[in-house]
């Protein structure tokens, strides 16, 4: 399955890029599974996901949870808790 992964704020800085296209293997079907798969690739993802506290996610621009399913072509975003206003 192909997904676009976006990173924002402190997470973007630690990963060192704002977006990447990922071809994820079979079985990676939720946000939690995608996060684990990214971390398993080593640095910089390990450091980024462990050092940034309480990383949140969105799928197709809606707030998601760990068990939110992915779909082919999904836009997935990871980011720290929001601090606008």
């Amino acid at each position: 399955m192909k997904v676009t992964v976006l990173y924002f704020a402190a997470l973007r800085e630690r990963v060192g890029r704002a977006r990447e296209e990922c071809e994820v293997p079979e079985g990676v079907e939720t946000i939690d599974a995608l996060r684990e798969w990214l971390i398993a690739r080593g640095e910089p993802w390990v450091g980024a996901f462990t050092r940034v506290k309480s990383v949140r996610a969105a799928v197709d621009q809606s707030m998601a949870r760990g068990d939110t399913p992915l779909r082919e072509g999904a836009e997935v975003a990871f980011f720290p808790p929001v601090t606008g206003g």
Partner: protein, 153 residues
Amino acid sequence: MVRVQTGPFDVNEEIERLRAADPRVGAIACFIGVVRDRNDGSAIASMTLEHYSGMTEKALDAIVEQARRRWDLYDVLVIHRVGELRPTDPIVLVIVTSAHRGEAFAACEFVMDYLKTEAPFWKQEATPDGKRWVDARDSDGVARERWNEEEGR
């Protein structure tokens, strides 16, 4: 209506427009968020706001829609700035119009409480010790949860 922009906004112009547009309006509540010169014990030289273009507009639209379902409102305007801002610069504007003040005050606060926890904006501050990302405050989550509790009563 929601707008995300780098430039400043004209509060008077926005209020006047909403006031004159609808003769049913009897109350206008307005909130303006401003960049402070100190935060968590440090002097702030500037603040840079990053956002998730596309999702930001969707999230703000959804918040406005929730407020409209909850109270009898005539109009809701949210303008949020992004990019680099300095102390005393306005960051966010919320204007709510309704027939009476109760709805306007409540909805204005509701929109801000939800914006603080749901809209994908991130602040980075420039301090004398360098740049740092602002941490989310627990009190913002508490402020938002309060509205769920009120609904459950």
